[in-house]
């Protein structure tokens, strides 16, 4: 598919009545925003500053409207087309699909979402220091997507990953695609070896010095969580609209860096300082996600490195964990 054809395809998606979101450039950053004019869409393989999480797990969403103690589930979301997720973002989606496999809200939203991926820009041209970038054979069959654009010179090679994706392309009048059959999130050769290695190293507790060092510099501001494509922790809270007597139960993003995250009755906090909180963040990604969902809890996009105000570099820290100091 040529670039003009891609613009036409985007126009087609918008004309079909879809809410289309994709990377646009704003003040030197790429942000996933609603596309009004297809000329705005930039599919250059760069990562968006924020992850795509909000399209699957909104920063705040209503679970129930409550009226006279009766909980009424709200209808979730609207149909949306997301265009421009990189392979790293698709890998993060693999994790979300596992974590929220039984979540009615997530699944309903997922059903209404068309995911269109793109390959990552080559490492030397990327703004982010993502260090796992190989676009290997077979990699696509482990991601759930509808359409994927692989950069090939000045145009794109087109893959479909679902019938929905095929239908859209056919309707647009484009047939030169290859279909990739989804083979589950785990590679044929078994669990991701680096994931297993890091988990083992962290569980044997070799890196006490690293955590105390990070504890001293981390501000516990939570910016890394905000941009991270694999962070998904949330709170559930009730909100009363006093006048009408109506209430809502909502869930909203939170992060383990916030003081109340681990607070229990009696004001005891299990994560009482920055050292414990940043360890918990790494533990979640490198021990718990692999143990529970068998896919890595970090996709190496490097968004957190860019966001961190004190320059904590997850790539360096992973290297130190692996060296087992």
């Amino acid at each position: 598919m040529t670039i003009p054809e891609l613009k036409n395809f985007t126009s087609f998606l918008i004309k079909e009545g879809n809410a289309v979101y994709g990377p646009v450039e704003r003040d030197g950053r790429f942000l996933a925003q609603k596309i009004g004019d297809p000329q705005e869409l930039v599919l250059n393989g760069q990562l968006t500053y924020y992850s795509w999480r909000k399209f699957f797990l909104p920063a705040t969403e209503t679970l129930f409207n409550i009226h006279r103690e009766v909980f009424k589930k709200i209808k979730v979301g609207k149909p949306q087309v997301l265009i421009g997720l990189t392979v790293l973002d698709l890998r993060a989606l693999d994790l979300y699909n596992q974590v929220f496999a039984n979540d009615a809200y997530y699944q309903e939203r997922k059903r209404q979402t068309i995911v269109i991926g793109q390959s990552l820009a080559p490492a030397d041209q990327r703004e982010f220091a993502a260090f796992q970038d190989s676009f290997r054979e077979n990699v696509l069959e482990h991601f759930e997507f509808d359409i994927f654009f692989e950069k090939a010179g000045t145009s794109f090679k087109v893959y479909t990953g679902s019938e929905d994706g095929q239908r859209l392309l056919e309707k647009f009048g484009y047939r030169d695609y290859a279909h990739v059959k989804y083979a589950g999130p785990i590679q044929e050769e078994g669990l991701d070896r680096e994931m297993v290695e890091i988990k083992k190293k962290m569980e044997s507790g070799y890196n006490a010095a690293l955590w105390s060092e990070l504890g001293k510099i981390c501000l516990a501001c939570g910016k890394c969580s905000l941009v991270c494509p694999t962070c998904y922790c949330f709170n559930i809270e009730d909100q009363a609209k006093l006048k009408s007597g109506e209430m809502r139960r909502k869930r909203e993003w939170t992060t383990c860096f916030f003081p109340d995250f681990s607070r229990i009755a009696g004001d005891h906090r299990f994560l009482s300082d920055s050292e414990k909180r940043i360890y918990y963040w790494y533990e979640h990604k490198f021990i718990r996600d692999p143990a529970r969902y068998h896919v890595p809890g970090c996709v190496r996009c490097g968004r957190c490195v860019k966001a961190c105000p004190v320059g904590i570099d997850i790539m360096k820290n992973i290297r130190r964990i692996k060296e087992g100091e």
Binding site: L63, N235, I264
Partner: protein, 276 residues
């Protein structure tokens, strides 16, 4: 698709004062089918909810053989629990559960003696085990309960303790005697002094529920009795929002307390940083 977040309405059948700021609530699902489906193992928990105030995890205090109602015990410490304490018989609240795959291993107790160690409000889920043992003694061998509270005033289930003492060995301790004449006999001192000072039932399986700092010292005391880590089961308390393995507030190493717990075999979690 089942919505895991949907609280089912339950009716408060009765409310009992147990201690200052602690009440027991006997509950029954409004829909008889929900009540019929509510089958739990002691150690599991429920999320109770009041519209406009939120949700929190609490232990189930009644016998698992009692199927027409169930009971929770709640200390009023925050906005939600204080609101619950205002509720009266006939009021409705919401319940999700039972939750947690990790419960007390009842099957073991047919062939093994049992020692239960409860601190403070930790007696709530262990009461379910005690009542099960009283209801079906043929499923159990020798049973011993060590229960500690701040003072006699703070001991829960006082009217029942006499009855329990007839069926199982009970030793009570308080941090400090309240000074008044009390209907129950108890020692003064930390719960570890009961573990150190009393003769334990032989080769016991041990269930522990209590505040984090108590658990640590109790396990050390059990080690002095040569109790093996494989025989210790501990219920962990953590902050929870979802109760269904998604929000990750309750993580310990590779596990989530709400999903794989709240009761864990100590041998399986002792190596996890910050677990106990």
């Amino acid at each position: 698709m089942i919505n895991n977040y949907d609280p089912k309405p339950v009716k408060i059948i009765s409310v009992r004062d147990e201690a200052p700021r602690v009440k027991s609530f006997v509950l029954q699902f409004s829909d008889p089918q929900d009540q019929k489906n509510f089958y739990f193992h002691p150690g599991q928990f429920v999320m109770f909810s009041i519209a406009g105030f939120g949700e929190a995890p609490v232990g189930i205090a009644s016998s698992s053989f009692k199927t027409d109602t169930f009971e929770i015990g709640v200390r009023a410490v925050g906005r939600l629990t204080t609101e619950l304490h205002k509720k009266k018989a006939g009021d409705l609240i919401g319940i999700r559960g039972p939750l947690g795959k990790g419960s007390f291993p009842a099957k073991l107790l047919k062939n093994r003696n049992l020692l239960m160690i409860a601190g403070g409000i930790g007696i709530v889920p262990l009461r379910a085990v005690v009542l099960d043992a009283i209801a079906r003694p043929e499923n159990f061998k020798e049973i011993q309960l060590f229960y500690g509270a701040r003072s006699e005033n703070e001991l829960l289930y006082k009217p029942e303790l006499g009855e329990w003492r007839k069926k199982i060995k009970v030793a009570l301790t308080v941090d400090k005697h309240c000074g008044q004449k009390c209907p129950v006999v108890c020692d003064e001192g930390l719960i570890t002094s009961l573990v150190d000072g009393k003769k334990l039932v032989s080769d016991p399986v041990v269930f522990i529920v209590g505040p984090p700092v108590m658990c640590k010292f109790v396990i050390e005391a059990l080690h002095r009795h040569k109790v093996k880590d494989e025989d210790i089961y501990i219920s962990l308390e953590r902050h929870m929002q979802c109760g269904v393995g998604e929000c990750h507030h309750c993580g310990i190493g590779p596990k989530l307390v709400c999903d794989e717990g709240p009761v864990f075999r100590y041998a399986e979690i002792k190596g996890i940083k910050g677990a106990v």
